[in-house]
Point group: C2
């Protein structure tokens, strides 16, 4: 399965993946998933947003779901998302090889737009599938080119996750806790509270040569101080803060910008710490704006509270927290008993072409997932 | 003439102008100029890059040229460039109304891509027309979409400015010296040395949530410190430094960037001060890169020395320096006796939709230009 996926959406220059939702590379992966499901005789069910579940129909009662996503961040790695989907299909193969007969339905799921790289809202597909987000609230979301979500998918219709009794998501680790603990596989205790906040800095466009420094109202300076303040604040508090996305207007070499818009990604070990971090960064930014003659507006675009995973997997592996959002967090918050398995990542690097995992660790992940599914579907 | 130009390439949202070279709005202006020249019975001469001179043929000997440009920065003002072209045509009208009979050819010029907003090199047209830049060096310049200059113009061929004996460019002032001196019109003493320098900051892409702050190599932080250092250094030395253009890769909210490319625009009262400013910014950036685990490459993209204007206009108006580059600076450096006239700008704001000039001051500029041309072509 990895050799099928390797070339799809891959940049020849960086080696990273560009699998934006509802665009050609990601749609090719979606078609590949349908083929894989059909080859295994699984029954496909999908909703009007593009979320898909491939069911191994068996027994009765609430279904057990496992899976992940196939979209990537811009220039992302090979494992974030696809490892969970490939491992889910491989676990079905392993269970069949063991001669296991499930006592309840077993499903392999793929949720769309997990990364939020296109419409700006992470876990878009699972939010819609679980009812955490209504179609009327989502339909008007727009990508960077102004295309609305409603322009690319039909949307609406019945929710996909009725009658699901448990969800397990396997994922490549996005840090080095399993390296430190010398373990190929771990389980998640919780997802940290996290949020995205848009910082709009406004000043006055002007000529970069002729405008005296003292006469400027340059929002780039306010932004620059804010980026450094966010980093310092997160280091001091042992939390996470990142400014990784920026839009500058007019973005010309010889013009003082009129506007800078930047997005703060903040993740903390508690909701109080998150609020405190964002407050501290906002306060320092506003103070600097006063000195620069610029103005600042901060808009929270999505803020998620802490999510604890309640489903006990009965595995003897390390238990670690994660500061990454996942579809599993959305399903857990929606009341579905949920768990996550992590597979060791030697470098800890993720959301990057350098993201990796050893084949032996991936196979250990498949075995652990198969054990978990056997237990849950017995 | 202003009412013809007002709507062309204007943004409905900002009120600013987007007249990128060799694209529809700017080409519409070029066609307008041809109409204006033909309506006045001027003879059109152009080169294979799109530079145009409309000649009022008369007498013999070296021609006297006046004019400016019609392209704009992204989201620029109405006056930067067009004021010089409109005033040149209006000065021809004024001279004819005076019954003036030139003793040598009088030309109205329009040079392409003065702002460098598309192919990154300011005064591209006048550099080619004056021989300061060869076509073989220019042909491969690429815009942000990867389109080469050779893809949009034929280029090459004979230089346009053979036999030109003097050049006068009228321009809206891009500062407030004329406001301070209470004068509608002034002349330029010199153009400050200035340059554009590309700063490439490289780090490591990573997950914005899961990567510990201490494990990051985030080029955004190195850039942010550099932008603040450039501002501080320019203030201390009473010079000008601006980071107004930025490209972030991959530019995703939840990814630590792998690369940040930023352009420093620096202008100083002497070449020594320019070298010292750029050195100081580069040194501080490199020190911070060492702490951030990032790398820095600085590439000068265009650096121009001081240009003194040697052509005496015989006007009794204030003499002021300018920190803006102009086609006049290129022609002066190429050995053509050159001068600049400035028209007062009440706010001093330029390269912005807020750029403005009073009608009475513009008319004073036309009269001053007509006087100058009458003297030079007598």
């Amino acid at each position: 399965m990895w050799s099928d996926l390797a070339p799809v959406g891959r940049s020849a220059s960086s080696g990273g993946y560009f699998r934006q939702p509802f665009a050609s590379a990601e749609r090719e992966l979606a078609a590949w998933f349908v083929e894989q499901a059909e080859a295994r005789g699984l029954r496909l069910e999908s909703d009007a947003t593009g979320n898909v579940v491939a069911w191994w129909d068996a027994g009765a009662g609430a279904g057990v779901l496992t899976g992940s996503h196939l979209d990537s961040v811009l220039d992302g790695g090979a494992y974030d998302g696809p490892l969970g989907v490939v491992s889910a299909l491989a676990a079905v193969d392993a269970l069949r090889a063991r001669g296991f007969a499930p006592q309840r339905p077993l499903g392999v799921s793929v949720f769309v737009e997990e990364e939020g790289s296109r419409f700006g809202l992470a876990c878009l597909g699972s939010r819609l599938a679980s009812g955490a987000l209504t179609w009327s609230a989502a339909a008007g979301l727009r990508d960077r080119d102004g295309v609305a979500l409603a322009d690319v998918v039909e949307g609406g219709g019945p929710a996909l996750l009725e009658g699901v009794g448990a969800f397990v998501e396997l994922h490549v680790e996005q840090g080095r806790d399993l390296v430190d603990r010398d373990a190929p596989v771990g389980v998640a205790s919780e997802i940290w509270p996290h949020g995205r906040y848009r910082f709009d800095f406004a000043g006055e466009a002007n000529h970069a040569g002729t405008t005296r420094m003292a006469d400027r109202r340059d929002p780039m300076l306010t932004y620059a101080m804010t980026a450094l303040a966010a980093n310092k604040q997160a280091r001091l508090a042992d939390q996470r803060a990142t400014f990784g996305r920026l839009e500058v207007t007019p973005n010309g070499t010889n013009a003082v910008p009129s506007h800078v818009t930047a997005w703060l990604d903040a993740r903390c070990s508690s909701e109080a710490a998150l609020a405190s971090l964002v407050d501290a960064v906002t306060r320092q930014a506003a103070e600097r704006a006063g000195r620069d003659g610029t103005t600042l507006t901060v808009t929270p675009e999505s803020v998620s509270g802490a999510v604890a995973f309640g489903l006990d997997l009965g595995l003897d592996v390390p238990v670690i927290p994660t500061a990454a959002g996942h579809d599993a967090g959305i399903l857990a918050a929606a009341g579905i008993p949920t768990a996550m398995l992590f597979v060791r990542n030697p470098s800890g690097v993720s959301h990057s072409p350098a993201e990796t995992a050893e084949p032996a660790d991936c196979l250990a992940g498949v075995e652990a997932l198969a054990d978990v599914l056997e237990r849950l579907a017995s």
